[in-house]
């Protein structure tokens, strides 16, 4: 793989590319689905190929092929040149690349239990046991249960015209659990999700009590919950919702490709105070074991911690080699590509808000009438408008400083800059347990997010009835 990557990179240099990189990728993954007491569907996935990116004149060209055959790789290079040349005269914003210090490295992260080392039969037995205990916890109220586990290994070689040659080998494992409960009138779902940079050891780390049994408890709890009220409230975010806030509302806006393209509300705001003075937000791909961590990004830049908001002030963006050049900034190791057939784009890794000083009980006491949002499920953002939405699987009313009745199915929507300024208390706790796949431009990247409990004034809650 190294020889081929270096050969194509050398060819690109000889043909006059301003810059070129070559990524060769080999991925294997397997998944097990257990549903309603049966190992329902067992799957395997194998993928290998090459992606060649060239900067020719003022424009990028990128071509890929699902083969490591030398002639097809050379054809990819020719295609990439032709693609770049076809667009030259229509470029309004010439492509650039930061000065790249050549890196020659190998990063091999051996999981405790490599995915292929555990027999499928053993994986199935873990899932069946989780599911059995989850169903037992709910009795006949549980009408459907799905437990899913997948693990896979990714081996990647990167070579570029600056002389970089990096081989990375790593694996990730993910487990999800869905329990559906019924009271005869209504159905409700409880979900749990775990993910690690590692292998099949995840199966031995998870206990049913904190996974499937917890998912069942959530579903049962939601059967007794009432719909949320609609309107504007003071809202208390559980760390999982804080994670969605920093990822969706701020993080995507801080991706420098969006900023440079004039698509982010943070364009031209560097150095300004945009959040409450107690707010500091980071993206850090060096956290050991965290789902969004990696040693080198897909452009070969070493991983690092990036500060985005420091004490309320916008201090930095996430950069690829190209955006770093355009902003005259340091590359931050945020250029990530999902597969060999994708260009690297600016992505988050593990994004979080730093802990504050306020105990949870004190934050609750300070709310006369509000909503406590828990169990972050999903979110999305329109960076152009700065409008985001976060969905919570569970919630509770807070009345006169006390937690009240349970609420079900709540989303919030707000404007990013308003929300960051309306944060009036940050908890002294911290949790980052939101491993997931973040989507952008058709690519997905493993990320995590979290933070402390956070209290925010004047958030719009999409409830089902008026006050």
């Amino acid at each position: 793989m190294e020889d081929l990557a270096r050969h194509i990179s050398d060819q690109a240099k000889r043909r006059g590319a301003v810059f070129a990189d070559v990524r060769i990728l080999y991925r294997r993954a397997e998944s097990v689905v257990v549903q309603d007491g049966r190992a329902d569907k067992l799957s395997a996935f194998t993928d290998r190929g090459i992606g060649v990116r060239v900067l020719v004149g003022r424009c990028w060209g990128f071509a890929s092929a699902d083969s490591l055959d030398r002639r097809r790789a050379e054809r990819c290079l020719s295609d990439a040149f032709a693609l770049a040349e076809a667009s030259q005269e229509f470029v309004s914003d010439p492509a650039m690349i930061a000065a790249v210090a050549p890196v020659q490295a190998e990063d091999r992260r051996q999981p405790e239990i490599p995915p292929a080392a555990m027999p499928v039969k053993e994986k199935i037995s873990h899932l069946l046991e989780w599911e059995r205990q989850g169903r037992a916890a709910g009795g006949e109220a549980v009408v459907n249960s799905i437990v899913n586990y997948s693990d896979g290994q990714r081996e990647e070689v990167l070579a570029n015209t600056a002389g970089t040659l990096i081989r990375t080998v790593g694996s990730r494992a993910v487990a999800t659990c869905l329990m559906v409960a019924s009271d005869g009138k209504m159905l409700q779902r409880g979900m749990e999700h775990r993910g690690i940079v590692g292998g099949a050891e995840l199966l031995r780390q998870i206990t049913p009590e904190e996974f499937s049994v917890r998912a069942t408890a959530k579903a049962l709890g939601l059967l007794k919950a009432r719909p949320a009220p609609a309107g504007r409230f003071t809202v208390l975010f559980h760390p999982s919702i804080t994670g969605l806030l920093v990822h969706e509302a701020l993080g995507h806006n801080a991706e420098a490709d969006a900023v440079w393209a004039g698509q982010s509300i943070l364009e031209g705001r560097l150095g300004e105070t945009l959040a409450a003075p107690t707010v500091s937000i980071y993206d850090d791909s060096t956290l050991p074991g965290a789902f969004g961590s990696y040693a080198y990004d897909s452009e070969g830049t070493p991983s690092r911690r990036r500060m985005i908001i420091e004490n309320g002030r916008l201090v930095g963006f996430l950069h690829s080699l190209e955006t770093a050049a355009k902003f005259k900034a340091e590359p931050t190791g945020s250029g990530r590509a999902e597969g060999y057939d994708c260009r690297p784009i600016v992505r988050m890794s593990n994004t979080f808000m730093a802990r504050g000083t306020v105990p949870l009980a004190q934050m609750i006491r300070g709310i006369d009438r509000g909503i406590y949002l828990m169990d972050g499920h999903w979110g999305y953002v329109f960076v152009q408008k700065g409008q985001f939405i976060c969905h919570a699987g569970q919630a509770r009313m807070i009345e006169r400083g006390e937690p009240g009745e349970a609420l079900r199915d709540v989303s919030i929507s707000s404007m990013t800059l308003d929300t960051l300024k309306n944060i009036d208390a940050i908890g002294d706790d911290f949790e980052m347990k939101m491993p997931g796949m973040c989507g952008k431009e058709g690519q997905s990247a493993p990320t995590d997010c979290g933070g402390p409990h956070v209290r925010v004034r004047e958030v719009v809650v999409g409830g089902q009835h008026g006050e």
Binding site: F45, V120, N144, M186
Partner: protein, 442 residues
């Protein structure tokens, strides 16, 4: 590889799987070649191209399923994947609900799914479509910030099974999606539009930017509104997503497993009599058209909602076997279920007339109305919406949300428009829901 060569690969894989112990097996194989040109900051950012081949093997032993997917054309990799699929099927739990894979059901391919002109387009031609959009958008609004893609894909595929299914197909697709951002001081308006087709003659790809820019201008000057109950008019894009979500919930697997808000509703009225939805996979040149589904079942038009009554579910071969009925031809090769071209029946009033009748409400031009698949609860953001008063669209709204339960909302659907946006195979009318809870930030 030629098209026939893919069928040969499939048949060889099926034979090998059966020899290894698969009781049932089907294999799909094919190739996709694509070109994509990216627009950023109202200029060309990059041009990308890719080509890939894939073989997917599905094997069953005592009803348990093993599935393996491999990219590329390496014979060794493909054979290893066949072995893995069979090995996994042997490890899977026996499933008595699995009955059989579909038998051969010959049917002529739907017309117009492959266009030689798209297949023969050069990168330069794709770039020129992108440039035409940039010029169109900038001519309307010199400072408009345009972004998006113009992409095409050319594919060929084959499917073979242990029951004797042997199908070959090919298709083309081209699309342009353009986003426009327009600024006036500190105010900004943002919108998007798209066009796509299987055949170049069905598309107006060069002018997508015009409607994106016009939309972005309309979204300048957004204001906050008060919470309240009011009418909700879903424009074609928003309505299509909303109705598509209901059809997805009519997935027989979800209902047989007991996890859908439509459990126990088959045969019942779940919506007002204004709502009829047909799924039609046989429309020539339709985006989601095709003679067979991913398992080789012959497809046919299917009425899912008839004047508000849920009359049919979407089945694949597994759910059909379990329910002792016939597959409706909605199976995917990986074992899932998916709809094709949705065609809601049109109503009597035009979209303009429907809007004119609204005393107070929201016109949602586009937005994701995603209901919880189990409870039907819905808590969604008004992503691209306007406030409507006395039949007039007044201003775009920000920081507002929609709440409700889909089974409460559907009986309050009181109009489907007589006019609709049409995309190849797909019909997108405007619909109106009455008495909907809106949460505002005012």
């Amino acid at each position: 590889m030629s098209k026939t060569a893919y069928l040969d690969v499939c048949q060889r894989c099926v034979q090998k799987a059966v020899a290894l112990g698969a009781e049932w097996c089907d294999v799909s194989a094919g190739a996709v070649r694509d070109i994509s040109v990216t627009i950023e900051k109202s200029g060309i950012k990059t041009a990308d191209a890719g080509q890939g081949e894939e073989v997917a093997i599905r094997a069953f032993v005592r009803g348990g399923m093993g599935y393996a997917v491999v990219s590329g054309r390496s014979r060794r990799d493909i054979e290893a994947s066949v072995e893995r699929a069979v090995a996994l099927a042997k490890e899977a739990t026996a499933d008595p609900d699995f009955k059989r894979l579909p038998a051969p059901q010959p049917a002529p391919e739907v017309e117009g799914l492959f266009d030689d002109r798209i297949a023969g387009m050069s990168v330069g031609e794709v770039v020129r479509i992108a440039v035409a959009n940039i010029e169109t958008g900038r001519a309307m609004e010199a400072d408009a910030n345009l972004s998006g893609h113009v992409s095409l894909a050319v594919g060929e595929a084959a499917l073979a099974s242990s029951t004797g299914v042997a199908i070959e197909s090919r298709g083309t697709e081209i699309d342009a999606d353009i986003e426009a951002l327009v600024k006036r001081g500190s105010d900004s308006g943002y919108f998007y539009d798209f066009d796509f087709g299987r055949n170049l003659a069905d598309c107006c790809l060069q002018t997508v930017a015009a409607s994106a820019v016009a939309g972005a201008r309309r979204f300048l000057g957004a204001k906050r509104i008060k919470s309240g109950r009011m009418s909700l008019v879903l424009g074609p894009l928003a309505a299509y997503g909303f109705l598509g979500g209901i059809v997805s919930a009519a997935n027989a697997e979800s209902i047989q497993r007991g996890r859908s808000y439509l459990c126990g509703k088959v045969g019942e009225a779940i919506a007002s009599e204004h709502l009829t939805i047909v799924d039609d996979p046989l429309i020539p040149r339709g985006l989601r058209s095709g003679a067979h589904d991913g398992e080789g079942t012959r497809r046919r038009p299917l009425t899912i909602l008839d004047r508000g009554r849920l009359v049919s579910l979407l089945h694949n071969s597994y759910t059909a076997g379990k329910a002792c009925t016939e597959s409706t031809g909605h199976g995917t090769h990986s074992g899932g279920i998916g709809a094709s071209n949705l065609r809601p029946a049109l109503g009597a009033k035009t979209a303009a007339e429907i809007l004119c009748e609204v005393q107070e409400g929201i016109y949602l031009e586009s937005g994701e109305l995603r209901a919880d698949p189990a409870s039907g609860d819905l808590s969604a953001s008004i992503d691209f919406g306007f406030y409507v008063k006395d039949g007039q669209v007044r201003f775009p709204v920000e920081s507002a949300m929609i709440g409700g339960n889909i089974l409460d909302l559907l009986p309050r659907l009181d109009a489907v428009s007589s006019d609709a946006r049409e995309e190849p195979g797909i019909l997108m009318p405007t619909v109106r829901l009455q008495d909907v809870q809106i949460a505002g930030a005012e």
